[in-house]
Each structure stands twice: as C-alpha cells, then as structure tokens.
C-alpha cells in the first residue's frame, strides 16, 4: 500500500455480526456482535457473562444503540471519526432507517465523507464481477438478489426469515451448564459449526465439548437439520426456489448471466458439501438453456467477509474517490436527497 492512498473505514453492520476495518485490508480488524448490554458494553465477553439483558441493535433498528456502536467502532479501530470517510454496507430495510443513520454519522459521529451501497453489490464486486445472482445466507434471514452492472435490482430481490441461527436450535440440547441465553446460543452455534455437514459421512461425526465429553450425531440427523435451508414450509420456499424465482422473473438479456454467475455468501455457505448441494439442486430445476454455474470465493473467510472485502476494495480504488458524499454536500443539499442521488442503491 503506497503512501498516496487515502485510507477510509469500511463497515458491514449485520443483524448478528458487525465487521469493520480499513480500505485495502482483506480482513476486518474489528469483529463483534451487533448487540450490547444494558450498560452499553460490547463484545462476547460482556454479553456472555452476567444476567443482564442482551439488547439487539438491529431487528428492530435502535438508533441510540446504533450510534453507540458506531462510536465504539471508531474507538476500537483506533482512529478519530472526523478524520475518516466511511463506506457503510446498505442492508437497511427502510429508507427511513438509512436516513437516520446518515444523520447520526454526519451530525453526531461527525465523519467527513460517506457512501453506501447494497451488500449484494459488494459481494459481487469482491468476486471480481459486476453482474451476479447473490444468495446471502445471513444469521436471521436469507436474501437473494440479482446484481446487474453493480446495481442491485431491488424489484426482484427476495428475503426469507430463515438463516444460519435457526440451525443452532437442534444443538442446544448438548449445552449443559450455568450460562445465560446468549452464551448458550454461542455454544450451540460452535457445536453446529463443528458437526453440521451435507456430505455423506461413513462414521458418525464427533464434537468434543469443553469438558472433554464427546457428542456424536448420525448422518441422517445432520442431513435433516442441514436440509432446512432447502426444504419448504409455510413461510419459506427453500433457497433454491428463491434463486429460481429471480431467474424466472428476470429479463431474458440477463437471465443467462445470472445463471452462470451464482454466488453464495454468508457463513452457512461454508457448511461442508453445501455448495455442491446448491449446484446440483439448482441445475436440476433451472430453465432449459440456462446452465447454472456457481462462483466459488477463494477461501472460507471470503464467505463470512465478502461484503467487507468488497467495500474495502471498492473504496480503495482511486476512481471511486469522486463518489464520496461530503458533509457539506449533505448539509447544503437538503440532506437525504444527495444520498439518493449519489448512492445508487
């Protein structure tokens, strides 16, 4: 990194995890839960111990807690917010929430420059593409989006209330001990990450608990849990159908491109055998003339951090520097309208 490059802060504040760091880095320097204690403490140490309530910062969106998270972020990154531009991944449900955050950033946190762009677009860029069909399996919800030339096509975007966290539940039974709810969920999540697989295993899977005991699970049990992402029920069609719906609802011109550039991101994409299963399931259901091709990120870390990495690179491009929305532009333009104009979506 040469000294002419201006460093900015990049943040991906998700419903469960927050990742923040600097442009040019391929890894977020600060990773934490998007939650805090009643006394505004962040991090799993504080959240996992004690009997106080654990507060969600998103879901629903809590502006006061969000503001605290932003300030804590700059503190943890070791920089003054008024000296650093911020690229924030846009995963806001409503314009109103985004508007509120921009106001907090310019007026309270006092950043000099701002930009926002949809998570799906950043995941697309981080795979070296500008057009793709993105499946983002988050913690509490899954979002499927078509991105075309860097624009996320919101009209065909589909969201479902199923995500990685729902797969923790069957593993809770193995968590014994005096822990608060948050800590129990963390432990169940660890066990899930150690055991869950789509692959046909010959022997039973084993996981060693902190106390030395072993948990064993049969292939059949694990398949049943893992298949929740593909099975349909009352309020969920299965991730394969979310993607197919977008393909079928897209104009012919981009159908081919979307089919040949399917990208799965989010931690659950790392479950062993998941990508193979997604490829075979989709290929079997795809319309004729549409060959499904899954684009694989170079490493598992990319699936957790694709949004951050995309932001880190995008905001480091010298050609990008003219796109920042400056504080004075924001103040002089009647505030939110400049964001809508300069940040496509």
């Amino acid at each position: 990194m040469n000294s002419d490059e201006i460093i900015s802060v990049v943040a991906d504040i998700g419903n469960l995890y927050t990742r923040a760091g600097f442009t040019g880095d391929d890894f977020p320097r600060w990773s934490t839960f998007t939650k805090c204690t009643e006394t505004m403490q962040f991090g799993d140490e504080s959240l996992g111990y004690g009997n106080g309530q654990v507060l969600d910062i998103l879901q629903p969106f809590n502006p006061d807690l969000y503001e605290n998270l932003l300030k804590k972020m700059f503190e943890k990154l070791g920089v003054q917010s008024k000296d650093y531009s911020l690229l924030l991944a846009n995963n806001f449900q409503t314009k109103h929430d985004l508007q509120k955050v921009v106001e907090i950033l310019f007026e309270s946190v006092e950043i000099p420059n701002f930009f926002t762009i949809r998570n799906a677009a950043l995941s697309t860029f981080s795979a070296g593409r500008s057009t793709a069909l993105i499946l983002d399996i988050g913690a509490y919800s899954t979002t499927a989006s078509a991105v075309h030339d860097g624009y996320t096509l919101l009209k065909t975007q589909i969201q479902a209330p199923i995500g990685g966290e729902i797969l923790n539940e069957p593993f809770r039974q193995f968590v014994v001990g005096e822990y608060n709810q948050f800590k129990k969920t963390c432990l169940a999540r660890d066990i899930k990450q150690g055991l869950l697989t789509y692959e046909q295993i010959d022997t039973t899977q084993q996981y060693e608990l902190p106390d030395g005991k072993f948990i064993q699970m049969q292939q059949a049990q694990l398949s049943e849990i893992a298949d929740k992402l593909f099975n349909s029920n009352d309020n969920f069609k299965g991730i394969q159908h979310m993607l197919l719906d977008i393909i079928n609802n897209s104009v012919n011109d981009i159908k081919q491109q979307l089919c040949s550039t399917v990208i799965s991101t989010g931690g659950s994409s790392n479950i062993p055998g998941f990508l193979n299963k997604l490829q075979t399931t989709l290929s079997a259901l795809a319309p004729p003339m549409c060959k499904i091709k899954l684009i694989i990120y170079p490493s598992n870390q990319n699936r957790y951090h694709s949004v951050f990495i995309g932001g880190s690179i995008l905001a480091s491009l010298s050609s990008f520097q003219s796109l920042w929305v400056a504080k004075n532009e924001y103040q002089e333009s009647g505030k939110f309208s400049i964001i809508e104009r300069k940040c496509p979506n």
């Binding site: 860029f125 593409r129 500008s130 030339d149 860097g150 170079p298 491009l317």
Partner: protein
C-alpha cells in the same frame, strides 16, 4: 454502477475507427498502471483471425470490442455483423483488487462506446471460444 473510472479519448477514437472506419477487427482495452484510467491495449487489423484476438487474452482482465461476422444457417444464408463487447475476467492469479477494478470500471467504458449489440463476460478460455461468440451473435 459507474464508479468514475476515466476513459481515455483514444478509447473512443479507436472504437469509431473500428465501427465507422472499418479499420480494425477488434480493439482491446486495459486499465493503466494505477487502475484509474482505461486505455487502448491492442488493435487487430481488419483481416485478423479470431485466434489472434484470443491470444491476447491471458492472465489479466481486459475489455474488448470485436466486429464479428457470421452466417446464419438459413437457405440462402444471411450475413450478420455485430459489435460484441467482451469482458475478459480470468479467475486465476490476478489480485482481487485488480479484478474488481476491472469489474467496477466496465460501465464507464461501455457508456462511451455507442452501438454495442451484445456483451459477453468470460472468466475462462472456453467462454470466449469462437463458438460462443457466434452463438451470441446469431441469437
């Protein structure tokens, strides 16, 4: 989404020389050293072969415009001529930042080139074989 990548005037001039002046069969573009401006990399003579064109698409991303002529299978066969925009983005070896700079810069270039009929995004050699481009042109 246009991230503001510069496009040198040369890029448009040579494109017009291809499109209107019929001086070239193809023009290949690349990003300059700082990944900030798109410039002309190669120009192929009017009688170049497709194989010669593909030989320039190696380990680094490139943009290209190819003036492709094809014949339909009708009787009698129809001549079809289309300007195809090709985005070459190989997955091997390139640093992610460079790959992304090309992905992000594509729109800036396309905006300046009027008259493109078709677009191909190719990430490996099989996707840029002549059969592929012929299929796109004849569809």
């Amino acid at each position: 989404m246009n991230v503001g990548t510069n496009v040198s005037d040369d890029c448009v001039t040579e494109f017009n020389n291809l499109k209107l002046g019929k001086q070239y069969r193809y023009v290949i573009y690349k990003l300059d050293k700082d990944n900030n401006e798109i410039v002309v990399d190669h120009k192929g003579a009017r009688d170049s072969t497709y194989a010669e064109f593909v030989s320039h698409l190696q380990n680094e991303s490139r943009y290209a415009v190819y003036d492709y002529h094809a014949q339909t299978d009708d009787v009698p066969p129809r001549q079809v001529e289309k300007l195809v925009f090709i985005f070459w983005s190989p997955d091997t070896n390139q640093p992610v930042k460079q790959k992304m700079a090309y992905a992000a810069g594509k729109e800036a270039l396309k905006k300046k080139l009027n008259g493109l009929s078709k677009e191909i995004q190719a990430n490996e050699p099989s996707e840029v074989e002549e059969t592929e481009i012929k299929k796109i042109v004849l569809n």
